[in-house]
């Protein structure tokens, strides 16, 4: 009997020691490098500030603006309804729910488009589709939407059309020259992926 117990003891020890070799680190499935390189050179991953402005004005429900700057910069200024995911916490599990919602396009922006581009590459490597970068970042946003320049007189007609749109957008975002000068800060309505409910219970 003791010999059987000895074998069982060894068996249990081996099984327990075996758990050391079980890798419990979450593995992110990465997309193929070729696909990533192909996607990187596609211009379609950029959206212009005008497009973003139009999405916001149209209250497009599929738009998810993500501010990858620091929380302080976000508090200082951010686009309407943008959520803040600081670049260094992009991989934090707390924020993973914001990505991969079917039918939602994620648009990253930062002050320029470098940080947003990096965020795009990282999320893309994690296999998240429907992510975009706002071309030119907030600097471009200020130049084009907040302070649009009137095109020279010999500019084509489309340039004037664009200018008209930007003037309209400027009014929308800054409240300039609009009777209704009270710009209420809208509550940020954020959709999150439904969290898996952890079973409750116990004795």
């Amino acid at each position: 009997m003791n010999r059987n117990y000895f074998f069982l003891t060894v068996l249990m020890l081996v099984l327990a020691a075996g758990t050391f070799f079980l890798n419990r680190e979450p593995e992110y499935e990465q997309i193929k490098p070729e696909k990533l390189l192909y996607d990187i050179i596609q211009p379609t991953r950029y959206v212009t500030t005008d497009q973003v402005a139009r999405f916001i004005i149209d209250k497009d429900p599929t738009l998810e603006l993500v501010d990858v700057r620091s929380a302080a910069s976000y508090d200082h200024f951010s686009l309407n309804n943008a959520i803040n995911i600081p670049f260094d916490s992009l991989l934090s599990p707390n924020y993973q729910d914001y990505f991969g919602i079917p039918g939602t396009k994620v648009v990253f922006y930062s002050n320029d488009d470098i940080l947003a581009d990096q965020a795009w590459v990282i999320t893309r490597r994690m296999g998240i589709n429907e992510t975009y970068v706002m071309k030119g970042g907030l600097n471009c946003w200020i130049e084009t939407i907040i302070q649009p320049k009137e095109p020279p007189e010999d500019a084509p007609y489309t340039a004037f059309e664009l200018y008209q749109f930007r003037k309209g957008a400027q009014m929308y975002f800054t409240g300039a020259k609009v009777d209704n000068s009270v710009v209420k800060k809208k509550k940020v309505a954020v959709r999150r992926k439904k969290k898996q409910k952890v079973a409750a219970g116990g004795c």
Partner: protein
């Protein structure tokens, strides 16, 4: 895959049937291992019968190690299972009270149900005591409501608190348990030699 019910693989309607079946298995194992006898159980504190320690520790290490393998093979998502919340102070106080109840009563709730099933009157009284105890607790609850909720640390695991991977704990528990099995085997032999009144 698992857990099946939280993941919606088995719907809620089967909940109570499953509860009954799992309970039957639980009761069967408890009774068949000898937990329907308070003297068997209390033996763990006096060294004449370590059945509680053996069954209990074996179950804990098998389950711990098993969970890690189940998680690894993707059968069970350990992030989705219920982790008992930790209330530091109340849990220690409660366990000390339970410790007294354990030594005095010789049962714990689960084992007392199986003992009633085979006709032990002391188990019936123990269960009546449980009822009375919980009644007293709930009536007196306002007196210690603040304490009851104190020391809350959340639904934390050992790994969450220490940062050490779960495998280390599983291994440590296994080593301790296996060592205790061998040691208690020797203790039990010695103690039994000196006790004449009790038939083992």
């Amino acid at each position: 895959m698992g857990p099946l019910i939280p993941n919606g693989i088995i719907t809620g309607n089967w909940d109570f049937v499953i509860a009954l079946l799992l309970g039957i298995a639980f009761g069967f194992i408890l009774e068949a291992s000898g937990f329907s006898s308070s003297r068997n159980i209390a033996g763990v504190f006096y060294g004449y019968n370590f059945v509680v320690l053996r069954v209990f520790f074996t179950a804990v290490i098998v389950a711990m190690v098993g969970f890690l393998y189940f998680d690894y093979f993707g059968w069970l998502d350990l992030d989705k299972i219920f982790i008992l919340p930790t209330y530091l102070g109340p849990m220690i106080v409660g366990s000390v009270i339970m410790g007294f109840g354990f030594v005095l009563g010789g049962f714990c709730p689960g084992t007392s149900y199986t003992a009633i099933a085979i006709g032990k009157m002391d188990a019936l009284l123990f269960t009546v005591g449980l009822f009375v105890g919980i009644f007293i607790f709930s009536e007196a609850f306002p007196l210690f409501e603040d304490f009851y909720y104190s020391g809350y640390l959340g639904n934390v695991t050992l790994s969450d608190v220490t940062g050490i991977p779960a495998a280390w704990f599983a291994f440590a528990f296994t080593v301790i348990a296996l060592a205790s099995f061998w040691i208690t085997m020797l203790i039990e032999k010695r103690v039994r030699k000196n006790i004449k009144e009790y038939k083992f």
